[in-house]
Amino acid sequence: MAQTQPQAAGVNGTSSNGNRPDQGGFKLKFCTVCASNQNRSMESHLRLAAANYPVISFGTGSLVRLPGPSISQPNVYQFNKTSYDSMYKELEAKDPRLYRANGLLNMLERNRGVKWGPERWQDWQVGVPRLEHTSDRGSEGVEGGVVDVVITCEERCWDAVIDDLLNRGSPLNRPVHVINVDIKDNHEEALIGGKGILDLADSLNKAAAEERALNPAGFDSGNAASRSGFDERVPEIIGEWQERWPNLPAVWTLAWF
């Protein structure tokens, strides 16, 4: 659930990151995941997309839950069926003052500029082409429906993602790094978390691009330890990143699609 804080009301994610020019070259494909595919995953989705990474995003909850007038009256929506735009319109009609003050309308405004609506991780058919998503931010490069790195924003979501991948039985034989970056669910923390995730993505992509550029004489000539590829450098990269972002505790594993 996207807990919102009144003091974060003025924060608007839509224009906080300048779109940086595309350097071209090799790009890892990312996927960001939080509980409701609203706040944390969408903030980092936008950030990664603005940095020209192919990116998609999901939520692992059973339903999309947004704060309502009281703790026992949340606004609940179905995944994959309700667009950010319709949620925006509904909440605006219900109580524009409340939902503006708690930042929900700003958040939905940002989200509807990124993609159509919240998607549920467990319903994602990995490997099925995503050609109908061309208007989504960051959709270029993920047409094949697979990614290289999944970044979750809460340990519960990481657990849900891993459990789901184990459930699927790894039919695609494709390795995927699944990294949790623990971010508190409010607008302010989501902004900080988004920066942290972009830094992580840059570090990972740098290593992956270096591996592709190496092009050694042969993969089993000489000993393997002399060259380090992307996969084995990931723990080191995360370790270094963690030193830079000590307040965003990270967990990582190498899983399979």
Partner: protein, 727 residues
């Protein structure tokens, strides 16, 4: 492709267009794959070879292409794939994709060979690829090695006996040795099974080796779930190896950030796999061991990582003769009495052993040297004498000498604390054993008693106050009383919340609150009883007076406490479910008592049970099984309303499982409610079609004929279910 050779960028762009075409329409795969084959020739540019290898991997993994089409495609690419994998100077990224492709193609080719036992050529190609992958498994870069592990996992899955499946059907996850006729010429099942067993051992070796490479360990762990699930006869072997694996092995040395990430990752991944297995198969005979392992891992992980974040390294042992302390003492020894070293004996009789014991370590004191052989004692003695610092030895001897003297005629003088100076140096205090500190305090008090009895008596009489009565406070109005009452309630909640904070901290080592009874639980009991019972007695008296308005005032105060409790629970219902249950038990009990006194009493239990459930339900998801089962099984009374809520949970596909599990639990554990619960299950069956498979699994033995129930109504119910979802 058929396009004439142009710049690499241009070619890749054309290839990208071709890929988009097949992504939107899989029927074009065959011509496009055939067109791509020439560009992966050994002489082609590495960019093109990488593109093509990635494309192969994607194609054979794609869930949109029917298995029969993939089978045909696999025969087309097999020779090219072999070329890529066997080329010793091939680019690592290309090989990585090629191995992934091989892993996806293996079950396809295997099934083709089952049906075409005479195609030796194809099988030989596949065998060449397989043996090449197993050769590079140990020597290639980790990125390639993990894909070799995955390939091996696929081979094991295919070459072990699985549940019977139709060999003509598609799912490559279902291809197994059970489909192979026993007399198959190319693929004799016996030898394939032996090969699979060897491969599995080789995969599992990563858990037994000393080098722990997290990338390999994680990759292996995350590939095992399907083997454990779909191949029960090898599941025990796999689980036993994992249960003997210690992912925290590397954690005792000082950890670099990288090792920290790796250790955490291996621990978390191991636990995730085991929890997954336990969740899928709660009846697993290894269940208790898995549970134990998971709990142990969580504890050790908390110790290692929480400790490390608080303070580096474990605390020093508190042995009095510990090396570090000895050094510190050594500096003081030059001008301090040797008594520092050897604590004086307590008063009373002593054994000779006690006289000569200089260590404070209880474990060491209990050790009987006589158990050692004489030779060994002599050896140890000589080594110690050779190494020991002469000064230290002298001090120890002096200490013992002092003790010995104290046992003689001067004993009472030294050991009678009455005469010992009270103003002890701080330094002395540090090395005073506990028992003597206690005695000293007591003695100080004794001394004070002796000195000051007179003075005390005098002041007591002088200071005595005259008789004083507080004036009566002005009477409170009802609204003031309510207001004050509300203030009190919110204050009690405030206290409770701070207590909760502290309880969390006690895990960090400060264990002060656990000892007193003013902990959170105590306050919760007080609150729940305040809410439920405060007015019970009063109601009885007021009934006779018929003071209606005042009763409603009081009720509203009680209800206010209830409202606060309700909100408090909902704020974090997963952690506070115990509070909810405690409270509801109180409500239920109070209702029962009330009904005895007065038949028409207002009952609260049912109302609040439903309110709590309604509050929780929107937030429940599949992982909340324990919370829900605990709630419905521990509340003291079940009503149709509660069951109606559980039924409602079946609307949402994510909560069907937990709703039905809790109903099953009620069926098994609450015999009086069984009939009612099974009735609800039948209603669920009729209403929610999606819940049927799971309901059948759980309740088939309780409701005979459940599977055949209401088949004719399917169509209309379908639309019902859809409407119910749109909430």
């Amino acid at each position: 492709m058929a396009a004439p050779p142009s710049s690499v960028e241009e070619q890749i762009k054309q290839l990208g267009d071709a890929r988009k075409l097949v992504l939107s329409d899989p029927t074009y795969y065959t011509p496009i794959i055939q067109g791509i084959l020439p560009i992966v020739a050994p002489g082609a540019r590495v960019e093109l070879r990488r593109w093509a290898a990635d494309f192969f991997a994607e194609t054979f993994a794609s869930p949109t292409i029917p298995a029969s089409q993939k089978e045909t495609l696999s025969l087309i690419v097999l020779e090219t794939l072999r070329g890529l994998i066997e080329n010793p100077s091939e680019d690592a990224a290309v090989v990585k994709s090629a191995v992934q492709t091989a892993a996806s193609a293996y079950p396809l080719v295997f099934r083709y060979i089952i049906n075409n036992p005479h195609d030796t050529l194809t099988w030989e190609r596949m065998l060449a690829i397989k043996s090449r992958i197993f050769r590079i498994w140990d020597s290639a870069a980790p990125g390639v090695r993990i894909c070799c592990v995955k390939f091996a996992q696929r081979v094991v899955l295919v070459q072990t006996k699985g549940p019977d499946a139709d060999p003509r059907r598609g799912d490559p996850l279902e291809v197994s040795l059970s489909m192979v006729p026993p007399d198959h010429k190319l693929i004799p099942p016996k030898s394939l099974e032996a090969e699979a067993s060897g491969l599995l051992d080789r995969m599992l070796a990563v858990f037994q080796e000393n080098i722990s490479d997290a990338v390999l360990v994680d990759a292996t762990l995350n590939s095992l779930s399907i083997l454990i699930r779909a191949r029960p006869h090898i599941a025990n072997k796999i689980l036993n190896v994992i249960l003997n694996f210690n992912p925290l092995k590397q954690a005792n040395s000082p950890m670099t950030p990288k090792i920290r990430v790796m250790v955490k990752s291996m621990e978390k991944t191991t636990r995730a796999l085991l929890v997954h297995i336990l969740k899928r198969d709660p009846q697993n005979p290894l269940g208790p061991r898995i549970q134990q392992y998971v709990e142990r891992m969580m504890r050790s992980r908390a110790d290692i990582f929480d400790d490390a974040s608080r303070k580096r390294g474990p605390p020093e042992p508190t042995d009095g003769l510990d090396h570090a302390k000895r050094q510190k003492l050594g500096a003081q020894v030059t001008n301090a009495a040797p008594k520092f070293y050897v604590p004086p004996l307590k008063p009373g009789p002593h054994t000779i052993a006690e006289l000569f014991t200089v260590t404070g370590d209880e474990a060491l004191k209990a050790f009987d040297v006589a158990m050692l052989s004489e030779d060994l004692v002599v050896k140890i003695g000589i080594t110690i004498l050779q190494r020991i610092d002469a000064e230290t030895l002298n001090q120890a001897i002096d200490g013992i000498r002092q003790r010995y003297k104290s046992l003689g005629p001067s004993q009472p003088e030294l050991l009678n604390p009455e005469t010992a100076p009270l103003g002890v140096d701080e330094d002395d205090d540090d090395y005073e054993p506990d028992f003597s500190t206690a005695e000293t305090e007591e003695q100080i008090l004794n001394k004070l008693d002796l000195i000051s009895p007179d003075v005390e008596k005098v002041t007591a009489t002088d200071m005595a106050l005259g008789h004083f009565t507080l004036p009566q406070p002005p009477p409170l109005t009802t609204s003031q009383a309510t207001e004050v009452g509300q203030g009190t309630v919110s204050r009690v909640f405030g206290v409770m919340q701070t207590l909760e904070e502290k309880i969390k901290k006690t895990k960090g080592g400060i264990n002060r609150l656990a000892a007193s009874s003013f902990d959170r639980d105590a306050w919760i009991t007080i609150l729940t009883r305040l809410a439920t019972r405060t007015f019970t007695g009063l109601d009885g008296t007021e009934e006779e007076v018929k003071a209606e308005p005042s009763e409603s005032e009081q009720q509203s105060l009680a209800n206010m406490i209830r409202e606060s409790l309700f909100l408090y629970i909902l704020e974090d219902f997963r952690k506070r479910i115990d509070i909810a249950i405690a409270w509801l038990c109180e409500e239920w009990y109070n209702d029962q008592v009330q009904v005895k006194v007065n038949e028409t009493a207002v009952l609260h239990y049912e109302k609040w049970v439903l309110k709590i459930m309604d509050g929780m339900i929107p937030y429940l998801d599949a992982s909340d099984r324990n919370v829900l089962v605990r709630f419905v099984s521990e509340i003291p009374g079940l009503s149709p309303g509660v069951l109606e809520r559980l039924k409602g949970l079946c609307k949402n596909p994510a909560t069907v499982t937990i709703a039905l599990t809790s109903l099953l639990f009620l069926t098994m554990q609450k015999p009086p409610a069984k009939k009612m619960v099974l009735g609800v299950v039948e209603e669920i069956w009729d209403t929610y079609e999606d819940a049927r498979p799971f309901a059948l699994k759980l309740f088939a033995k309780y409701i005979p004929g459940l599977g055949d129930r209401g088949k004719s109504q399917d169509e209309e119910k379908k639309s019902n279910g859809m409407e119910a979802i749109a909430a």
